[in-house]
Symmetry: C2
Subunit: 146 residues, 2 copies
DNA sequence: CAGGATCCGTTTCGATACTG
DNA sequence: CAGTATCGAAACGGATCCTG
C-alpha cells in the first residue's frame, strides 16, 4: 500500500483498500462459496496465485475485514472468517452482481448459495440480508479459537 | 485487459472491468464531482497521471460505460459523459460510500454534490436515485455531438 | 494551451518451484 | 497443508514530448 489517494471522500476511500482485482473476490468466495482455508481459495474458480493470495489475506486481516483463526482440534489448518466489518461488504457485492446481471454478457445467473438470482432482481436488500444471515448461521456452528 | 478471470459469476465478472483502483474513481468523479474533460480529471483530488487516465478512459469507453464526445462550438475539448450503463453503477458507489462511512476512519461525511450524507444513511436507494437524477438533468442541458 | 503519447524507473502481479 | 522465494511480465507514476 505505497501510494494511496487519501482523499477522505466516502466514495473512494474504500477503494483504497478494496480497489483491486482480488480483495472483493476473496470476500465473495468466503461469503458466497463457503471458502475458509488457504487451500479452498487456491482451488476456487478464479484461481489466485499463492503469493498473491497470501498478501491479500494479510491485507484483509490488517483492515479488520477477516480474522485468521484455527479450529481447536486442528492445529495446522488456518481458518479465515469474515468479521462484521467484512460481512458489511455484502451490499456492495450484491450491487456488483446486479450490475453484471443487467449490463454484462456471459454472466451465469443461476443459483447462488441457495439464493436464486430472481430474489436479487426482485429485492436486492432481501438478497443481501439472506446471504449475511446464512453466513452468520454458519459462523454459529463453528467453535473456532477467538 | 490481459488476464481476466472469466468466471461467469455475477459477483466477480464486474470486477474484471471495475476491479482496479481507477475505474470507479473516474466514474465517481463524473457522477459526483461533475468532471467532464481530461483536464478536470487530472486536477482532481486523487490526481491520476495522464498516461493512466488516458488508458482508463479508453477502457471505460470500450466497456460502454462512458462516451467520448465534443461540444458543437468547441472542437478541441473532449467531453466524457456517463452512459446509462455507467450511470447504473451509482448504487455500487453508494454502497461503497455507505461502507466507508460506517467502517472507515477519516472519512469526510459532509455534503456530496448537494446531497447530504444523512440521506445516504437514511435511505441509500433514494440517495442513489437523487445522484442519477441530478446527472440526467445535467445531461439534458448539454447539447453535445452524438 | 488542451489532449494525449512516449519513455523510463519503480512497483506489483502471476506462474511455478520450493520449504517447514 | 500453508505458505515463501524467485523471476519474468505487466502496470504504475512522473516527466517530458508531440500535435492541432
Amino acid at each position: 500500500m505505497n501510494h494511496d489517494f487519501r482523499c477522505n471522500c466516502p466514495f473512494t476511500s474504500a477503494l483504497d483498500i478494496l480497489g483491486d482485482k482480488w480483495m472483493l473476490v476473496i470476500v465473495k468466495q468466503m461469503l458466497v462459496e463457503n471458502k475458509e482455508t488457504f487451500k479452498d481459495f487456491t482451488e476456487s474458480e478464479e484461481s489466485i496465485a499463492t503469493n498473491i493470495l497470501s498478501s491479500k489475506l494479510k491485507l484483509l486481516e490488517e483492515a479488520g475485514i477477516i480474522v485468521k483463526t484455527k479450529l481447536p482440534d486442528n492445529k495446522k489448518t488456518n481458518l479465515y472468517l469474515l468479521t462484521d466489518k467484512g460481512l458489511a461488504l455484502t451490499p456492495i457485492l450484491v450491487e456488483l452482481a446486479n450490475w453484471s446481471d443487467s449490463h454484462l454478457r456471459d454472466v451465469h445467473p443461476t443459483i447462488v448459495n441457495g439464493e436464486s438470482m430472481e430474489l436479487l432482481r426482485d429485492n436486492k436488500t432481501a438478497f443481501a440480508r439472506a446471504l449475511e444471515k446464512k453466513y452468520r448461521e454458519k459462523l454459529a456452528t463453528i467453535t473456532y479459537i477467538r
